[in-house]
């Protein structure tokens, strides 16, 4: 183990992103971002609206290209990582395809990867089991509640067992109870497989509960204001939410957010 020099899952160096760089409507979304995310680490991005956290996630995903700096994902360019399908993605809106049954939604990435029908079906059944919706494969998305749809979206993102999961406020539209439940489930899922996660949220408690590190961004231009370690260990349960360390870290995050000048 000590012989290996582990390549960080994500390495971001001096990254900046300016939209419409040559016009009067120039917007500097991100500036001078340096951030390494270790393999199997869970990192949350939090900050006021307009701090560029969504842009940062999309830069890692190679859905947007940086105007400055470099991004490496598992030691290769973000672009190559995207083509190699190194990451799965989930958004605030579950974004399920209404014309596909639940199981076939989960199979979508597998289809694009050219898996055989039998393999796809076996995997989607396995994933449905994992997100505790085994009997819903044959339903259409509209027949599921918001929380269930989000679980399907996560199953879809994890279906090809990517090493990295990029999530943009995936639980933002859920009620508090469902949300906490989903957080527990997500931690179980990713610790089982050893997935690295970058997670955008507006919720201090969510960021604190889930993360090994919480990255607090400041707005206009988006910069990293502070990075808060959350030493709550790897096995977090409902009781974790009542630990003193949890409250201490949540307070740190809150104060950092207050410092950058807006409510999250």
């Amino acid at each position: 183990m000590t012989m290996l020099t582990p390549v960080p899952a994500i390495s971001i160096q001096g990254v900046g992103k300016t939209f419409n760089p040559d016009s009067d409507e120039q917007v500097v979304a991100l500036d001078g971002i340096d951030l390494d995310v270790e393999a199997t680490e869970f990192v949350s991005l939090i900050g006021p609206s307009g701090c560029g956290k969504s842009t940062l996630l999309r830069l890692i995903a190679d859905l947007v290209t940086p105007t400055a700096g470099t991004i490496e994902v598992f030691g290769k360019s973000a672009h190559q990582a995207r083509l190699d399908r190194d990451y799965g993605m989930a958004f605030q809106s579950a974004g399920l395809f209404s014309w596909r049954k639940v199981a076939r939604n989960i199979e979508l990435p597998l289809e694009l990867m050219g898996w055989s029908k039998a393999d796809r079906e076996a995997r989607s059944a396995e994933m449905l089991e994992l997100v505790q919706l085994p009997e819903f494969g044959n339903h259409y998305p509209w027949q599921l509640s918001g929380g269930m749809q989000q679980r399907v979206a996560i199953a879809r993102a994890l279906s090809f067992k990517p090493r990295l999961l990029l999530m943009d406020e995936p639980f933002g539209a859920l009620d508090e109870m469902t949300r906490e439940h989903m957080q527990n489930e997500l931690l179980e899922l990713v610790s089982e497989v050893g997935t690295t996660v970058v997670f955008i949220t507006h919720s201090i408690s969510e960021a604190t509960f889930l993360s090994n590190r919480v990255v607090v961004l400041s707005p206009r231009p988006g910069r990293i204001h502070d990075i808060i370690d959350v030493p709550l260990g790897d096995h977090r349960t409902e009781d974790t939410r009542e630990e003193e360390t949890y409250f201490k870290c949540a307070t740190e995050v809150r104060e950092a957010l207050r410092h950058v000048g807006a409510s999250p």
């Binding site: 995207r82 990451y87 993605m89 958004f91 990029l166």
Partner: protein, 270 residues
């Protein structure tokens, strides 16, 4: 949940409209009798029914063709024009959304043409294709049907959720995969809605075109000939046939919507 409609529910949904229709017919009949309205203003439903029965399989009047034959001939024109117009509209929508430059060139014309009364072109098409040619009537149907299909389908191909496109890109999907797995399925409801508009429109277009020319064994000429000889019940009988054809095509489009979109959430009253 998705078990579909049970028979009683379906009957229940249709019953109010059927009853209203019957009441309307009875009121019409009684009204025409009570107020002594003359036949050339508004014939009674019973005389229209009589004319329909008399002229259904043989022509009793001024036209040389039975209503059944005229109805069939017009249906052929309407349906053939509908099929060509729909295929053309959908194909060009695909082209216009796939190649931005084609779209930018085509769409303003389509929007403008869609707002133009295209049936006004019927006499021009007669000059192009020949006054006795069915092609001139078919051409009117094709053009009338084309625009709603083109515009709606194009909208469905373009109005795709951003997160779904991002998702596809995150999988490294090609443009062709995005088209096949996102844009086309997304456009299906839009396309089927346009079909629902286009189906009855094709009958309207066919008949109006027939008023201006083309072969005489069609519903359009049967209506004009009977009307010009003051045989209004016969003219109305032909109109009834035309309505039935239009309704049938509409019902077909609705049925297709049910079959082609099994994922559709059942809506009350649909």
């Amino acid at each position: 949940m998705s078990a579909g409609f049970t028979v009683p529910r379906r009957l229940g949904a249709v019953a109010p409209a059927a009853i209203a229709g019957l009441v309307l017919l009875v009121l019409w009949e009684l009204g025409v009798r009570a107020f002594g309205i003359r036949e050339f203003v508004l014939p009674r439903p019973s005389s229209i029914g009589q004319a329909l029965a008399d002229n259904w399989s043989t022509s009793e009047g001024v036209s040389t063709v039975s209503l059944r034959q005229a109805g069939w001939n017009t249906t052929v024109i309407a349906v053939s024009g509908l099929v060509v117009g729909v295929l053309l509209g959908a194909a060009l929508a695909l082209l216009a959304t796939r190649y931005v430059r084609v779209g930018r060139t085509l769409t303003p014309f389509a929007v403008a043409a869609n707002a133009t009364p295209i049936v006004a072109l019927a006499p021009i098409f007669n000059a192009w294709f020949g006054i006795t040619s069915p092609l001139s009537n078919q051409a009117v149907v094709v053009v009338v049907v084309f625009f709603p299909v083109f515009l709606n389908t194009a909208r469905g191909l373009l109005e795709v959720e951003v997160s779904q496109i991002e998702l596809m890109r995150s999988y490294g999907a090609t443009d062709l995969s995005v088209l096949g797995k996102v844009r086309i399925p997304n456009a299906i409801p839009f396309f089927l809605t346009s079909l629902r508009l286009a189906a009855p429109l094709s009958v309207i277009a066919a008949i109006v075109a027939e008023y201006f020319g083309g072969p005489q064994d069609r519903l359009g000429p049967v209506i004009t000939q009977n009307a010009s000889f003051a045989r209004y019940a016969e003219a109305w009988a032909a109109i009834v046939v035309a309505s039935v054809v239009g309704l049938a095509l509409f019902a077909l489009a609705v049925a297709l919507e049910r079959v082609a979109m099994p994922w559709r959430r059942p809506v009350d009253g649909q």
